[in-house]
């Protein structure tokens, strides 16, 4: 009896333990937590995959685990996390203006020491100045950067690119005379429709009136109704409002997606010849096929720098840029290591080596990650241009940039109402408090 009892008890106890372990394992798995760095960023989809590769290589080097969260609602999510006292360790923001607001509220840590540890000359003085965001400290690392002030074209259709605005107008007049529309323009990009037009106005103002006027206008201290700004808008009208400049006219320009605008460039009967767009357009060009093969940079498509006006400098000496900026919200040794990795040659080289991004770090260019002549030229300008200026609408308060986007659309819809459009913009500017304005000097 006793041994039988013991056997029975042992068997039943084992069964009970197994059930309890199975139940407990499931419960424990749901609550397991490890110490990791948290990074919040704007990228989802393919871009998220690329950035996670950067983080994966960091983890492989340092054994520091990183959890990346990508959201297109970055602004709202980061704002509420900061307000609740639960910011991520590091956040990547696509807008220097938004980052500057966190610098002002002292939610972001300076990173001067990180740049001090990098090999000398890793970044141009121009980029270091931009990354100070109008202060005397460095607050951000560029995860990736884009060059604006570019005009793309079909390499087989144009042999000598224009260098001045006058030469550009002669070129486009000639294209129109042949019965073709010269410009590929697509404004549609919800919820930011109009941004391609704001890029146009910014580039014209920058190259027409110079970086000083551009900087003051971006900072909100130059009126929208000033002669320089009005001249920039009127100059743009030569592009977008001249009949025959855009296939389908104003409606097509307004309703075409910015990513679709370039496609007619490579049709058998080209629907357009030139596109003003940033370096991120390269991915779009590469996805287009002609005669069954993807377009090749340098052979099928290329760019020329934004043309000069009169005696103001242009070419590779003056350019507009944009960047995705990583900033440290919660200081720690691990966060500093990640920021240092992101700023350094190894971290900066990962994404460009995948073929879909550009770095502001000079050592990446020297590393040879760019494999085609177009990418090399872009990287050279990014890292060595004499004057670089952040996209002005990225520096403006949100309601000013929103009004700017809508004003561009209104101007395309009816170019005869320019004075009214500029007066409406001026009303918005008047309403902005000085404390909201951001004065970020161009890097020179």
């Amino acid at each position: 009896m006793t041994s039988r009892l013991r056997s029975l008890a042992a068997g039943l106890l084992a069964a009970l333990l197994l059930a309890a372990v199975g139940f407990g394992t499931g419960a424990c798995a749901a609550t397991d937590a490890t110490t990791s760095l948290t990074v919040l960023g704007p990228w989802t989809g393919d871009e998220q995959t690329a950035f996670e590769e950067v983080l994966r290589r960091f983890t492989a080097e340092t054994d520091i685990n990183v959890i990346y969260t990508g959201t297109r609602a970055l602004s709202q999510v980061l704002r509420s996390d900061v307000q609740e006292g639960q910011p991520p360790d590091i956040a990547v923001l696509p807008s220097p203006g938004e980052l500057a607001s966190y610098v002002r509220s002292e939610d972001v840590q300076p990173v001067d020491e990180i740049f001090g540890e990098l090999p000398e000359g890793s970044y141009s003085e121009q980029w270091l100045q931009l990354l100070r965001l109008g202060t005397d400290k460095l607050y951000a690392v560029t995860v990736k950067a884009d060059l604006k002030s570019l005009i793309w074209y079909d390499r087989t259709e144009l042999s000598v690119p224009p260098r001045s605005w006058e030469e550009l107008m002669i070129l486009t007049d000639g294209i129109r005379a042949r019965g073709q529309a010269p410009w590929c323009i697509g404004m549609n990009a919800p919820p930011g429709s109009g941004f391609p037009g704001t890029d146009w106005i910014e580039d014209i103002l920058l190259h027409q009136s110079g970086p000083d006027v551009y900087q003051r206008w971006a900072a909100g201290t130059v009126a929208w109704t000033s002669p320089e700004v009005k001249q920039a808008w009127s100059t743009w009208a030569q592009v977008v409002a001249t009949p025959g400049s855009v296939q389908g006219g104003a409606s097509a320009a307004l309703l075409t997606d910015f990513g679709d605008a370039r496609r007619p460039m490579f049709d058998p009967a080209p629907g357009c010849s030139l596109e003003h767009q940033a370096s991120f357009a390269m991915a779009g060009f590469r996805s287009i096929t002609r005669d069954g093969a993807n377009l090749s940079p340098g052979e099928d498509f290329d760019f020329f720098e934004f043309p000069t006006f009169g005696t103001t400098p242009g070419g590779t000496t003056l350019s507009e840029v944009s960047a995705d900026l990583a900033a440290m919200f919660r200081p720690s040794e691990q966060a500093r290591q990640l920021m240092s990795y992101l700023a350094g040659q190894r971290g900066q080289g990962v994404w460009p080596s995948l073929g879909t991004a550009f770095s502001a770090n000079k050592q990446v260019l020297a590393q040879g990650v760019y494999t085609d002549p177009v990418s090399i030229r872009i990287a050279q300008t990014l890292t060595t241009a004499e004057t670089l200026c952040f996209d002005a609408s990225d520096l403006m308060p949100a309601r000013m940039s929103s009004a700017f986007y809508r004003a561009v659309l209104a101007h395309v819809a009816d170019p005869t109402q320019l004075d009214a459009v500029l007066s409406d913009l001026e009303l918005v500017r008047d309403d902005i408090r000085p404390a909201e304005r951001l004065d970020v000097p161009c890097g020179r």
């Binding site: 097509a252 309703l255 819809a413």
Partner: protein
Amino acid sequence: MTTTATSTTVAAAPAPGSCSMTRRDLLRLRAALLVLTAAVFACSFAVFSGVRSTVQNAGTNTAPAVLEVLAARSALVRADAAAMTSFQPPQVQLIGLGEQYQSELALASQSLTQVAEHNAAGDEASRRLQLVDGLLVAYSGSIARAEASFRPDERNPLGLTELWDASRLLHQPDSGILAQLDELAAAERAALARQLSTGWMSTPALLLWVVPIVALFSLLLLAQWYLRRRFRRTVNLALLAATVLLLLVAATASTSLVSQSRAAAAAGTLDQVSGGRQAQAAAIAATGRHALGDVLRIGCGEPLQGGCGGTVNAFLAGLPPMSGAAPSPAGPEAEGATQVIDEFAAAEMAEITGVLGYFIPLGAAAVAALIFLGLQSRLDEYRYRPT
């Protein structure tokens, strides 16, 4: 002549060696029975309560979260169709956007607020909700600006731009509001599936209460067999009563299986309701898209005449066929949602589980008392050793 005194009613005095073994066996048997009774109480009560709580949570939070996402989606599709239809001239000049657009938009907003309250899919779902909120503000702003532009001029290119913007904000694959809501609904539904299959609803949890009951039942039978053999007692009434009571405790605990099964069925009903709503929404969306197509053709001309550019031309070419079915109002959708909630409430069996929940601890206590009683009289026979 030698006489042998025998007794048929009183146990013979045990030999010195066997007395301590029998008492020890009885003590160990009683201890094992009581320990198993405690395990039956703890495990059965824990799983019973855990299942009840899980089913209640699923019915009051997770399932409603799924339904509210679907409700928001349906309302937005109806709002958009109403808006696009109202932009067909001369309606917008005469009556503007109309009441249906405003009321459906408000309904969508209310539903999304409730999703935030009931969200069971974690931080990612919360972030997606924030994204949807921001996109919805952009959408309604574009619609409002389109109305302002179209009222004086039905061909206003700025009005067309805002209307096109709004439509793309809503319908863009992968990034549009509806696509975000689809992802959100899938996340909440996955959370419901996890809730109904893990933790207290899992197979290990089932074993956690079944195994002690089987063990105790087996040991009670073994104990009664042993007592009958050793003490020539045919029936130990107390232990027999304990066995019957144990079966009643087991029956009570097994109602959690009924609850789980009903909850799974309610989840199946939720999927049917979801499928029906998606089909209905697709038909309504097609109506709205065709209305937008009409507005674009009026505004820009036909694609062959230049039209509105490549993106719009591709949209016009890809318009789904009209089903011809009139969009149904929200009434049947609300009925489907009510049915799902009712099924989850039935799965919870709140009316009886509240009472049954007391029976497990009381029943287990009674089983313990009967075990103690059933073995005590046998133990008492060994209390006084012969000297």
